[in-house]
């Protein structure tokens, strides 16, 4: 599931004019016009309307068909001009005004104006529309049109300023009149954007075809066509990449990486992703609410060995805190130096102590819940085996998302989540630490029915630090970083709120004939943006 891919980071929210550069695409010497690129993806597409889609696969299409208000620098993850050529934030951070490029047209010939941009944002935040992406805009009050090519976004007073970022990819700009005319369902089936490639056809479960937008405002797109093929079987996808049936394949398994690295026809691209996977605990009842229990569980597993066995040192690295290694404020060195490492003797001693105190009941049995994701199942299995060796009867129960969310979201009838102690889950976020720590470790996100903080971990000091970091006047990054670092040290070292697991490394296989294509940390597939214009040999 796609969440919180915020693309306009904190550098936007400073006082005065920030971005004044003209939106442009760097020229690539030798680039050829023509040809088709075929992309293999792991799942079928669901929603092609950026306002309602929350699938990372849908956004492969959306990124090509729609333009975002701002772009994202693929190396620094900083915001760069796109539809907005510049923007300025009010001195108190209460609103940001965007100045749009003129002459941008949607694929149906309509002009892209400030009205379309404001409509896109306001539609998402309107509760009546039930957009699953509304959560990304909790801080936003409304978007207001100033003139044809100027609009502003006003923050809620309690989120002023809002440093983490104010625009998400889910707010790729849609044409207001067309959306209203077609209605959400029809728009989903035949989306109309202003992007470099136009939607042509969607043969469900077989392919989606896009073709060049001849009138694209930013640059002349190099490719004639882009075809997306859902291929649910990973082994089939690898065969297709090898045979040349697809030019780009995502999620290359670790065991296939060396094979493709040795293949002169394929280039393996890797990028540390903005993701975090962890072993979580239920903090609402004993024994998992006791820090000694959590530490004993953490001491039962050799995480270095576990992560290596899952990813073979290729497609994932161990996590020491919630903030991915690719992001600032990760405090990796300190957290690593102070991490609780495997110590079976101490784990057994702690378990025995808890048993003697009656905190771990006699004949205690626990189940480790996780989704049907092979990596998380593997981590859960390793943990369960280690716990068995240390005297705790543990078993693994992988669940489909439905029953798993029912369990972890809790209910009015079972607010303490009596049925679970340990789970393995994950999170993908945007280029700001707030996208991780706020959602997973603050009390505000521990609510029945929609919790992202499945543990219901609650520490008022962590809450305060995280809120303060998100609303630092002037959004000074050094100040914010210090606050996030402090919050993480409390959560992971003092409270030992959960066992940090791993960060995934995005890994794609790209046929050598594809040029000017670069994987970014968000795992996006971009063909023509302010930073690239993909072309093919032959």
């Amino acid at each position: 599931m796609r969440k919180l891919l915020l693309v306009l980071g904190m550098s936007l929210v400073v006082f005065g004019l920030v971005a004044v550069a003209q939106t442009s695409v760097p020229e690539t010497p030798g680039a050829k016009v023509g040809g088709t690129v075929t992309v293999g993806v792991g799942q079928t597409f669901i929603d092609l309307d950026p306002r309602v889609s929350n699938s990372v696969y849908d956004f492969y299409i959306i990124d090509a068909v729609f333009d975002d208000l701002v772009g994202l620098d693929q190396e620094t993850l900083a915001p760069i001009p796109f539809v907005a050529k510049s923007w300025e934030t009010a001195p108190d951070g209460s609103e940001t005004t965007f100045y749009l490029n003129e002459g941008i047209k949607f694929h149906n010939g309509e002009d892209l104006t400030a009205e379309d941009v404001a409509y896109t944002f306001n539609w998402i935040v309107d509760p009546a529309n039930g957009s699953p992406n509304a959560t990304e805009y909790e801080w936003m009050q409304e978007a207001v049109v100033i003139d044809d090519y100027t609009m502003k976004i006003i923050n809620k007073p309690e989120w002023t300023p809002y440093c983490p970022g104010i625009v998400s990819e889910s707010a790729a700009i849609v044409p207001m009149d067309t959306c209203e005319e077609m209605g959400p369902e029809q728009f989903n089936l035949a989306p109309v954007g202003s992007g470099a490639y136009k939607f042509v056809e969607w043969v469900v479960s077989d392919h989606i075809t896009l073709e060049r937008n001849e009138d694209y405002w930013l640059v002349y797109p190099n490719l004639d066509k882009v075809v997306f093929r859902p291929i649910p079987n990973l082994a089939t996808m690898m065969l297709e990449l090898e045979a040349g049936g697809v030019d780009i394949a995502d999620n290359i398994p670790a065991q296939d990486v060396p094979r493709f690295q040795a293949d002169p026809n394929v280039v393996v691209q890797q990028m540390p992703s903005l993701s975090y996977f962890h072993i979580g605990f239920n903090h609402s009842h004993l024994p998992s609410s006791d820090v000694r229990f959590r530490k004993a569980v953490g001491m039962s597993i050799d995480l270095d060995a576990a992560v290596f066995s899952i990813f073979q040192g290729i497609t994932g690295i161990r996590a020491y805190g919630v903030t991915p290694a690719a992001l600032w404020a990760n405090d990796r060195e300190y957290l690593q130096a102070n991490a609780t490492e495997e110590d079976d003797a101490e784990a057994v001693r702690l378990f025995d102590e808890l048993k003697a105190e009656g905190i771990i009941p006699e004949k205690f049995e626990t189940t480790i819940y996780c989704p049907l994701d092979p990596r998380r199942v593997q981590l859960s299995t390793i943990l369960a085996t280690n716990l068995q060796e240390n005297g705790i009867n543990a078993q693994v129960q992988p669940l489909d998302w439905g029953p798993l969310l029912d369990l972890l979201y809790r209910s009015e009838a079972d607010p303490l989540g009596e049925d679970f102690e340990i789970y393995v889950m994950g999170w993908s976020g945007g280029p700001d630490p707030d996208n991780f720590i706020y959602y997973l470790y603050t009390t505000e996100n521990a609510t029945i029915g929609t919790a992202n903080n499945f543990s219901w971990y609650s520490n008022p000091e962590v809450d305060r630090l995280v809120k303060e970091a998100a609303t630092v006047p002037g959004c000074d990054q050094a100040t914010r970083e210090a606050l996030y670092v402090e919050a993480q040290r409390i959560a992971f070292i003092e409270d030992y709120c959960d066992v940090t697991g791993y960060h995934y490394i995005e890994t794609q296989g790209v046929r050598a004939r594809v040029n000017d294509y670069t994987l970014n940390a968000l795992g996006d597939i971009e063909f023509c943006s302010p930073q690239c214009n993909v072309w093919v040999d032959g």
């Binding site: 599931m1 009546a128 957009s131 699953p132 859902p230 291929i231 649910p232 049936g245 929609t450």
Partner: protein
């Protein structure tokens, strides 16, 4: 025969009705709130609530049941996630599975019946051993693995067939284009492998059974040529159980299609089942289960009627 057919059709309707109730109860007792799954992680309570309202999940169960049934009957039951009516979604995928299923059955018949015949005629010979061994392998090898091996050999190593997908179509059918036909080969061979094996063994067993009958000896005693004895007297009588089995293989085809279509990225009913279960699209799962059950029952009925044609001794009235 007419009254029998009418009786069977009425039975079919009753069974389908019972099935709708059973399916509805199963769907409603399945764990997991579809609205939550559709909204995704991190969704606001408001958005989940709007989705629940939109799906009518707060309506009384009998209202939800009636909406499903009436929607299916008048064809406007909306799929939860496909933005189209359920029947449209199913009918869009049906040609892909239909041509794959028919191609697999034809291929299976062309290979398995002669193989079964030869195996029976030359019993305990190298021909018989080869056929029975091949049939055993065909039954034992998982369809998805066999499909992967075909893709590896013909798609990656030899480069003579496309690895997966459906390729170009004409009027919605891929067998009408050269590209589509090439794409059809691997999934067809993979899906038919199980059918071939089953049919070959059945043909062999049936032929051996018939050839032991006294009327075969009589035919031979009359001086008929061996070819006539085998084809006209033995084979026609041995065909009845084989035909029955082919009719019953509709279920095997659907089950095999889930694996074959998922492995070979073939966009048919099998993939639709897989995708709809993952998406928790209850409407499509409901419609598909009913559709497949109806296909299964109709094929049973058809086989029973065909039986009477093949074997004149069988009458139903």
């Amino acid at each position: 025969m007419f009254s029998y057919t009418v009786r069977r059709v009425l039975q079919l309707v009753l069974v389908l009705f019972g099935l709708t109730v059973l399916l509805f109860v199963l769907l409603k007792t399945m764990p997991g709130d579809p609205a939550r799954i559709m909204a995704g992680l991190g969704a606001t309570p408001e958005s989940i609530e709007v989705i629940r309202q939109r799906l009518g999940l707060y309506d009384p169960l009998y209202v939800q049941y009636w909406r499903l049934i009436s929607g299916l009957v008048n064809g406007n039951l909306k799929a939860m996630t496909y933005h189209k009516p359920v029947w449209t979604v199913i009918m869009e995928r049906l040609p892909a599975t239909a041509e794959l299923g028919v191609a697999a059955v034809i291929l299976a018949l062309f290979v398995s019946i002669p193989a079964g015949l030869l195996s029976a005629i030359y019993r305990n010979s190298p021909v018989d051993y080869t056929v029975t061994t091949a049939a055993l392998i065909g039954i034992s090898i998982p369809v998805f693995w066999f499909a992967l091996m075909l893709m590896l050999v013909f798609g990656v190593i030899l480069h003579i067939l496309p690895v997966s997908g459906r390729g170009a179509t004409l009027f919605g059918w891929s067998f009408l284009t050269v590209d589509g036909l090439r794409h059809l080969i691997i999934p067809t061979v993979a899906l038919s492998s199980v059918l071939m094996a089953l049919n070959a063994r059945l043909t062999r067993a049936s032929m051996l059974e018939v050839m032991r009958q006294e009327y075969i000896d009589t035919a031979r005693a009359k001086g008929l040529r061996e070819r006539v004895v085998l084809i006209k007297h033995a084979f026609r009588n041995a065909l009845a159980p084989v035909v029955t089995n082919i009719g019953l293989q509709v279920g095997t085809i659907f089950a095999g299609a889930v694996l074959t279509e998922t492995t070979t990225a073939w966009p048919g009913i099998g993939r639709l089942i897989y995708d709809s279960i993952l998406r928790r699209d209850q409407s499509v799962v409901f419609g598909l289960a009913l559709f497949m059950a109806a296909c299964y029952m109709v094929s049973y009925l058809f086989v029973d009627l065909l039986y009477a044609y093949i074997d004149p001794r069988i009458t139903y009235d």
